[in-house]
Amino acid sequence: MQNKPLSFSVDIRLNKRRNLLNFDYSIVLTVFLLGLFGLAMIYSASGSYTLVLRQAMYFFLGAILMITAAMSNFRKMEPIYLNAVWIGFFFLVLVLVLPNSGTTNRWINLGFIGFQPSELMRFLLPISAAAYLTRNPQIKLSDWIIVLVTTLVAFILVFLQPDFGTSAIVLLSGIMPIILSGFPWRFIIYSFLGGIGTLPFLWMSLMDYQKERIYTFISPEADALGSGWNIAQSKIAIGSGQFFGKGYMEGSQSQLDFIPESHTDFIFAVIVEEFGFLGALGLFLLYAFLIHRLLYVAKTSNSKFAKLVSATLSIILAAYITLNISMVVGIFPVVGMPLPFISQGGTALVVNMITIGIILSLRRTT
């Protein structure tokens, strides 16, 4: 009998399909809360209506796509999910081939809109990987190897841009479905040790600015006016926020432009400066709640595909949140990652919102 990998019994489909709007509203509410808070913070950090307006447009687009994805039936999209990764590869190659201004090739400009293919890949890759791994009842070793090779190719393409932070995320997004789907533990340990073995080579292939970031992380105050500037200033901003913060639009560090990239990667510093420890705590709780709700799908779903996709996407989201915040507070090297739903940046916002939409859909239909 021919395999229909992602299909389940007819009665379940009928039961669930009736309730198109039966998704987890607490997740939607949290995302909207974060997004709107982000818009307010971008305004405080940049003082530019234009930037806020543009981000608001992306937020609107993201909201539409999120709700659309949440209302869709993932089972019907099986061929799309299996092949989605090719779209990602197409753009990743395109971005490297196209002549770009500056020293990095991260952006594709469609004239009216620009986006980062690497952001797209870290979201398409785990979906395709999960779809591929679960297309047959039994996963063969060769399936895992094919997914692994695909992941490594995607990783290298992003690494070449060069974008260290996102390439690590892409690697994680491809490897997670492999590991979660039952890849034997001893192989995981072997690969981990093998990975450590390649670190020296990886270090050598890093760009100078990337190496500098790691040096800076080790001793940020050593060169307070040079490359340690970002971290030092961001710590001052956070610390001076104290318990209650200095008030919205009142943070001297951010208003006087002491925090570089204050509306993108370092926006967390602005938040703490203006809303204090209390504001930070609130944000931490919101994020923790969001990840908790998203993981609920991975826990309760009866579809392996749904479990793999939702778990991987949740982990990626958690990784973004954690790495960004730990970078801004100075306990992790500067890797250039946005804070999900809050940092200014259209591609990341839209992709994150679609991610949420897909998990919502998985939760509803499985």
Partner: protein
């Protein structure tokens, strides 16, 4: 069932594995929270202190605005140092107290400073400074300097301000500078980057702003918590603006400006053979320095609300009926269209009748000029002669000639000049909602009715007569070498008989030289030979039963006096258009200015 095979997956392990791989992030997340706790609560005071002393600023350094010189290198506009008192709201603890102290120190009224303060606070961000009192004198500076330490948030800044040396004489040519407005930034996004510099608002300052402006530099400064400069960390110098040399002849301009005392009017003087503008006057004028550095806002308001509109540039934007100064062009149109021959005489008895209309079109001379040909009609300015040929020409016959002499379109001197108005049937229907009547054409024949021209357009049209058909693009920028300068041709008017040019010139010379010429009063055998034409522009049409004498009781309704001329005729050096608003007699008030301009320029000046 098929689905049973799925149970062979170790389902359930995905979640626990997910938690396992999530744990490092959960760990890092918790550590981050502790770090925030550590920074804000345990080390909060320390960081608060650092943040307060953390005052490294990047200030833009304004470039020095380029100077403006005349054609001979005479300085027209420079920059002078002005000391202003700046305040930064964020560093002022008690604004009332600070303002009170300052008002005592500066000996300035509290209310004025209070007004400036509340106005400024609204405009800038908390940590930005704004000027509270401008152009401090030595005594004020001395007093402030002594007390600088005890008052926080204040600072005396020396800035370069635009200063126009000849003040009112050059106001309309040079224009003035000012701060960049938000509207201007909307129109030109690049201006946002140079927000602290001043840009040209009108005149040369605006037209050549891109040359004069320069590029600002950046200075990185360290300041203490009260905003006082501790040290300079880095300086990237500004790129100063470049100087501009104008075609204007300052001595000529100065000489001619005196004629406009207590008069409203305008003058344009340019070289017909090159288009280089040598003098340009609009009166009443204003002192551009009042606007270049706005110290007293009341004075500025007075300037802008003045009913005589001194800021308005009449020379390039004022639109007047050309009146009789249009006659030579109508005459050329008639000759070219063979409506009349040069020597054909027409009887002028002071009145012109159109068939079916009992109302006569009157000439300016009650009983007429008798039998006149073109030469005499120009010299004596016969209205009936031109009524007749205009009637025969029709609108379609007159317009092309006027158009080729540049009426109704911009000359290209600046972007800000007016178009004038060369009416046609479509225009009248659109703007007046009425058809074009024969009477409109007849009035057009003597430069009245709907036609309007700027003094600049008149000067340009007469340069076409002086050059026998060639008109060059006018310009304000002095060429590096005048002798090898090749002006840009904007019109080349061909007549079927070249001799017509000389005949017309002779008629224009007769205006002054002939005994009956309308401007014979300025005839002077020792002067350069000048060709020109008087004009008297009616601003109120004379109604039946009401004579001009009744109208002229209101000075604002008196006729405008015009004279446009060039000379010396054998080698025209200068063409001059003069209009005196409500001056009544072109020959008495306008013509002497033109004559003086040509004589001064050809003899008086170059002889030196």
């Amino acid at each position: 069932m098929k689905n049973f095979s799925r149970e062979r997956f170790k389902t359930g392990e995905e979640y626990s594995r997910a938690l396992f791989f999530l744990s490092p992030f959960i760990f890092l997340f918790s550590i981050s929270l502790f770090q925030v706790l550590n920074l804000t609560l345990l080390q909060g005071d320390k960081y608060q202190t650092i943040a307060e002393s953390n005052r490294i600023y990047q200030k833009s350094i304004n470039p020095v605005r380029g100077f403006i010189y005349d054609r001979k290198g005479v300085l027209l506009a420079e920059n002078i140092v002005q000391r202003d008192l700046y305040v930064t709201p964020a560093y002022i603890e008690d604004s009332t107290k600070t303002i009170l102290t300052l008002s005592n120190l500066l000996d300035m009224p509290y209310e004025l400073l209070e007004k400036n303060f509340s106005r400024g606070v609204k405009k800038v961000k908390k940590y930005d400074s704004f000027p509270l009192a401008k152009a401090l004198n030595e005594e004020q500076i001395a007093k402030i300097k002594v007390n600088l330490e005890s008052i926080s948030g204040i600072e005396v800044k020396a800035t370069l301000k635009r200063y126009v040396l000849h003040e009112e004489t050059l106001a309309h040519i040079l224009g003035y500078v000012g701060d960049i407005s938000s509207d201007e930034i909307k129109r030109d996004k690049l201006l946002a980057e140079i927000q602290n510099t001043q840009i040209g608002k009108t005149g040369i300052e605006k037209e050549f702003d891109h040359i004069l402006r320069g590029k600002p530099g950046i200075q990185t400064q360290e300041r203490d918590v009260k905003g006082k400069l501790v040290r300079i960390l880095d300086t990237q110098g500004a790129k100063d603006g470049k100087d501009v040399y104008l075609t204007i002849d300052q001595k000529l301009q100065d000489h001619l400006f005196k004629f406009f005392e207590n008069r409203r009017g305008a003058l344009v003087a340019l070289e017909p053979k090159t288009g280089l503008v040598r003098a340009l006057i609009s009166s009443p004028s204003f002192n551009p320095n009042i606007l270049n550095s706005i110290v007293d806002t009341d004075e500025v308001e007075k300037l802008f609300s003045n009913k005589e509109s001194p800021i308005f540039n009449r020379a390039i934007s004022g639109q007047y009926p050309p009146a009789s100064t249009l006659k030579p062009f109508v005459g050329l149109a008639a000759i070219e269209n063979t409506v009349i021959s040069w020597d054909k005489k027409i009887k002028d008895d002071g009145k012109f009748y159109v068939e079916g209309d009992p109302r006569p079109y009157r000439g300016w001379k009650e009983n007429g000029h008798g039998r006149v040909d073109m030469r005499k009609a120009i010299a004596e300015s016969s209205d009936v002669y031109f009524y007749t040929i205009a009637f025969d020409l029709t609108l379609a016959g007159i317009r092309p000639m006027l158009d080729s002499f540049g009426f109704g379109k911009k000359t290209g001197l600046t972007d800000f000049e007016a178009n004038g108005l060369l009416p046609d049937k479509k225009w009248k229907l659109g703007y007046k909602g009425d058809f074009w009547f024969k009477g409109d054409t007849i009035n057009l024949g003597i430069g009245q009715g709907y036609i309007l021209a700027t003094p600049l357009q008149l000067a340009m049209a007469y340069s076409g007569l002086a050059n026998k058909g060639l008109i060059y693009k006018p310009q304000f920028i002095q060429p590096a070498d005048e002798k090898s300068f090749k002006p840009k041709k904007v019109a080349e008017i061909q007549l079927s008989d070249d001799k017509t040019w000389e005949k017309m010139e002779q008629a224009l010379v007769d205006v002054i030289s002939a005994k009956n010429g309308t401007a014979h009063k300025i005839f002077d055998a020792n002067s350069a030979v000048i060709a020109g034409k008087t004009g008297t522009a009616q601003i109120k049409s004379i109604l039946p039963g009401k004579e001009y004498d009744a109208i002229r009781e209101n000075p604002a309704l008196r006729d405008h006096a015009l004279f446009v001329g060039y000379g010396p005729v054998e080698d025209p050096k200068l063409v001059v258009a003069v209009i005196i608003e409500n001056g009544e007699s072109g020959s008495e008030v306008a013509a002497p200015i033109v004559k003086s301009a040509i004589n001064f320029y050809t003899g008086g000046f170059d002889a030196e």
